[in-house]
C-alpha cells in the first residue's frame, strides 16, 4: 500500500520555482530520506506534506486519502522539528499530551498514551520538567515523544539531529533507526547529511534545484548514481570525476586520461561497459570512488599523480592528488603515506567505476 503519494507537485514564489513538478511514491513502512544541499527544496517539500505550506499545483495523498487541502492536524501525521519546538512554558508531560488535549482526547486515554511513549523513550523521570531544564539529547527525546504519542500514519522529521553534537548525533541516529524497526511506521526524514541518509534510509531521494535527481535504495544511489550531482553529493569525500577519451580496441572500451593530446593512462573499462554507442571517440566523465584508488603498482590500472596533500585520520589516509590538471582524492589504508610534492604511482580499481556524459552529466554506464 502506498503511504504517501505526491503527483506533479509545484511550488512557486513569484518567479522562483522552488519545486518543479515533483512526483514521489512511498510505500507503507518505508524510511525515506530527502537529502540535498540547502535551498534544494527538501524542507519546503516536507512542509507541504505536513500541510504547513500550500503547493501552487499538484496533489498529495496520505494513506490513500487526498489531503491536498486538508489542515495539518487532520492529516494523521506527526512531525519532529530541527529546533525541537517544545513549548517552553509547558512541562514535558504537557508538551506530549497537548496535541491530544487539542483534539479532545479524554484524560484517561491521554495518560495511557503518555505512559506508552514514556516507556519506549524512557523519559518518565522528566515528566514534570520544563524544556529549559533539559539537555539537548533529552529535548530530542521529548520531541520524538510528542510525535510518537500520536501513533500517526506518517512521521515527518525535519533535520532532527543537526542541533546535536557529533557523539549524540550518532547515538540518536541509531535510536531513530531502532524506533523505525520497532514501529515500522512510514517515515519521511529531511537532512543535508549524506551519512544520515545512507545509514537510515530504506530509500533515498536526492534533491537538487527543486527536483528529485534520483530516488533509490542507498546502495544503488552510491554505486549507480544517475548523474554527476548525485555522484558528488553522496559519499564523503565525493566521487572523483575524471575527463577521459573513450576508445574501442579489440571489443573492449578503453578510457584514456589525456594530457596535451597524449594518453597519460589508458584504462580498460570493465566488461559490463561494452557499449557506449555514440560516445566512442569523445570525451566522457569517469567516476571513481576515493576508496578505489590505492598507492602503489599493485593493480592492473595504474596512473601517475602528483601528491598535493595528505590527511591521516587514523583509520585511513586521504591523499589529495593532481592527475593531468584534475584534482582527485584517494582514500587509502592508514599505512599508506605517499610523499608530498612528488609524483607517485597509484592503482585504480575500475570494477565499480561510473561513466557520465560530458555535457548532460547523466550516467552512461
Amino acid at each position: 500500500m502506498s503511504a504517501l503519494s505526491i503527483e506533479a507537485l509545484k511550488v512557486q514564489f513569484g518567479p522562483v520555482e522552488v519545486l518543479k513538478g515533483l512526483d514521489l511514491d512511498i510505500d507503507s513502512g518505508e524510511f525515506v530520506v530527502l537529502v540535498g544541499p540547502s535551498g534544494c527544496g527538501k524542507s519546503t517539500l516536507l512542509n507541504i506534506i505536513a500541510g504547513l505550506e500550500r503547493p501552487s499545483a499538484g496533489r498529495i495523498e496520505i494513506g490513500g486519502r487526498d489531503v491536498t487541502r486538508v489542515a495539518p492536524k487532520d492529516r494523521d501525521i506527526a512531525m519532529v522539528f530541527q529546533s525541537y519546538a517544545l513549548y517552553p512554558a509547558m512541562s514535558v508531560r504537557k508538551n506530549i499530551t497537548f496535541g491530544m488535549e487539542c483534539r479532545g482526547v479524554d484524560k484517561a486515554d491521554q495518560q495511557a498514551a503518555f505512559d506508552r511513549v514514556q516507556t519506549i523513550l524512557q523519559i518518565g523521570y522528566l515528566a514534570d520538567r520544563k524544556p529549559g531544564q533539559l539537555s539537548g539529547g533529552q529535548r530530542q527525546r521529548v520531541a520524538m515523544g510528542r510525535a510518537l504519542v500520536r501513533d500517526p500514519l506518517l512521521f515527518l522529521f525535519d533535520e532532527p539531529l543537526s542541533n546535536l553534537d557529533a557523539k549524540l548525533r550518532v547515538e540518536m541516529r541509531l535510536e531513530i533507526k531502532r524506533l523505525h524497526q520497532r514501529l515500522s511506521t512510514t517515515m519521511v526524514y529531511v537532512t543535508h547529511d549524506q551519512i544520515e541518509a545512507m545509514t537510515l534510509a530504506t530509500r533515498i531521494a536526492v534533491m537538487d534545484g527543486g527536483a528529485i535527481q534520483q530516488f533509490a535504495d542507498p546502495q544503488t544511489i552510491y554505486d549507480k548514481p544517475e548523474n554527476v550531482f548525485v555522484a558528488r553529493f553522496m559519499g564523503s569525500p565525493p566521487m572523483n570525476i575524471l575527463p577521459v577519451l573513450l576508445e574501442s580496441d579489440a571489443g573492449r572500451v578503453f578510457a584514456s586520461v589525456m594530457e596535451d593530446h597524449r594518453a597519460l593512462a589508458r584504462f580498460p573499462l570493465p566488461q559490463r561497459i561494452e557499449d557506449v554507442g555514440a560516445h566512442l571517440g569523445k570525451i566522457a566523465l569517469l567516476g571513481i570512488r576515493p576508496e578505489c584508488i590505492e598507492l602503489g603498482s599493485g593493480g592492473p590500472n595504474r596512473v601517475m599523480a602528483q601528491v598535493e596533500m595528505i590527511e591521516p585520520t587514523g583509520a585511513e589516509t586521504m591523499a589529495f592528488l593532481d592527475v593531468a590538471g584534475t584534482k582527485i582524492v584517494a582514500r587509502m589504508g592508514p599505512e599508506s603515506r605517499p610523499s608530498l610534492g612528488i609524483a607517485a604511482e597509484f592503482s585504480v580499481d575500475l570494477r565499480k567505476a561510473c561513466l557520465f556524459d560530458a555535457t548532460t552529466e547523466r550516467r552512461i554506464a
Binding site: L52, A71, Y87
Partner: protein, 288 residues
C-alpha cells in the same frame, strides 16, 4: 604598571564622583524644594520665600491637597481626580497591552501578504505628535457620544497606545521560533489557543515593559485630559492645572507641592515595583 593604574583609578574616582554627585544634586534640587514646601505652612512660605527649610514639619498641606482644598468651586482635594486617572489608566493599560500583544503575535508569527506594510502603518503612530490628533479625536468623540467621559479618554489611550505596544510585542515575538507555531498547528491548536497557551506564557518580560510604559504615559498624559474633559471628569493632571488657576487668592505653594507629589506617586510606585523588569525586558530577546 600596577601602581600607575591604581593611581589613575584613584584620581579618576576623585574627579568622576564629585562631578556625578554635583549633577545629581542639580537635578534633585527642584524635587527637594517641592518636598520641603509640602511641609511648610502658607504663612511661613509667604513671609520668607519658596526656598527654605521648614521651621516645623506640618502634614496639613497633604491632607488639604488630598481631601479638602477647593478648586474650580469644588472642595474635595485631588482624590476624586486621582480616582478618575486610575479609572482611565488601568483599563486603557490592560486593553492596549492585550491588543498590542495580539497585534504583535499576528504580525510576527503569522506572516501574511502586506504584513510589513501593516506594521509600518501601526508603528507610524509612534511618531505622530499628539496635537495633530486633537481635532480628529474631537470629531470622533462627538460622533460616538463620548465627549467629556472617562470612556472617551480610555478609548483615546487604547488606540494611541497601540502603536507602542504593537511595536514592543511584535519585536519581542519575532524571536520566538517559527517552528513552535508549526508544531502547534500539527498538534491542532488554533490561532487563539496557540496565542493563549504557548505564546502568552512566554510574554511576561515584554508585558511588564508595556504595562509600565502605558501606565506611566497614560497617567501623566495632560493634553487630551484637559481638552476632552471638564469638571468632575478630569484626570488628575488636568485637575492640577485648575488648582494652579485659582488666581483670586495668593498661591498656596504648600498645598500645590503636596498635590503634585500625590499625583506623581502611582507612577513612581509602578516603576519601583517593576523597574528592574523594565530594563531586563527591553534587553531580553531570546525565549529559546
Amino acid at each position: 604598571m600596577a601602581n600607575d593604574s591604581t593611581l589613575s583609578r584613584t584620581t579618576r574616582y576623585a574627579f568622576v564622583y564629585p562631578v556625578l554627585i554635583g549633577f545629581a544634586l542639580f537635578f534633585l534640587v527642584p524635587l527637594l524644594v517641592v518636598v520641603l514646601n509640602s511641609f511648610r505652612t502658607f504663612q511661613e512660605i509667604s513671609q520668607t520665600s519658596v526656598l527654605g527649610w521648614p521651621r516645623a514639619w506640618h502634614w496639613h498641606n497633604w491632607s488639604e491637597a488630598w481631601g479638602g482644598y477647593c478648586f474650580a468651586g469644588v472642595c474635595s482635594g485631588i482624590h476624586p481626580y486621582m480616582w478618575n486617572s486610575l479609572l482611565i489608566a488601568v483599563p486603557a493599560t490592560i486593553l492596549s497591552t492585550l491588543l498590542g500583544a495580539i497585534n504583535g503575535y499576528q504580525l510576527a508569527l503569522w506572516r501574511f501578504r502586506g504584513d510589513s506594510v501593516a506594521f509600518a502603518i501601526i508603528t507610524f503612530g509612534v511618531f505622530l505628535p499628539a496635537q495633530m490628533k486633537l481635532v480628529p479625536w474631537a470629531i470622533s468623540l462627538r460622533a460616538l457620544h463620548l465627549s467629556n467621559t472617562l470612556s472617551g479618554l480610555v478609548l483615546i489611550h487604547v488606540i494611541g497606545g497601540l502603536s507602542f505596544t504593537t511595536l514592543f510585542c511584535r519585536n519581542y515575538y519575532v524571536n520566538i521560533p517559527q517552528d513552535l507555531i508549526k508544531a502547534a498547528r500539527v498538534d491542532g491548536a488554533g490561532w487563539f489557543v496557540t496565542f493563549w497557551r504557548i505564546v502568552l506564557p512566554l510574554s511576561a518580560p515584554i508585558l511588564i515593559v508595556t504595562v509600565i510604559w502605558q501606565f506611566t504615559n497614560i497617567w501623566n498624559e495632560f493634553l487630551f485630559g484637559i481638552t476632552f474633559s471638564e469638571g468632575a471628569n478630569r484626570p488628575v493632571t488636568a485637575a492640577l492645572m485648575a488648582l494652579d488657576a485659582n488666581i483670586a487668592q495668593a498661591r498656596e505653594y504648600g498645598v500645590e507641592s503636596a498635590a503634585v507629589l500625590l499625583a506623581a506617586f502611582p507612577t513612581l510606585l509602578v516603576y519601583v515595583l517593576g523597574g528592574r523588569y523594565f530594563v531586563r525586558g527591553l534587553t531580553a530577546g531570546s525565549v529559546k
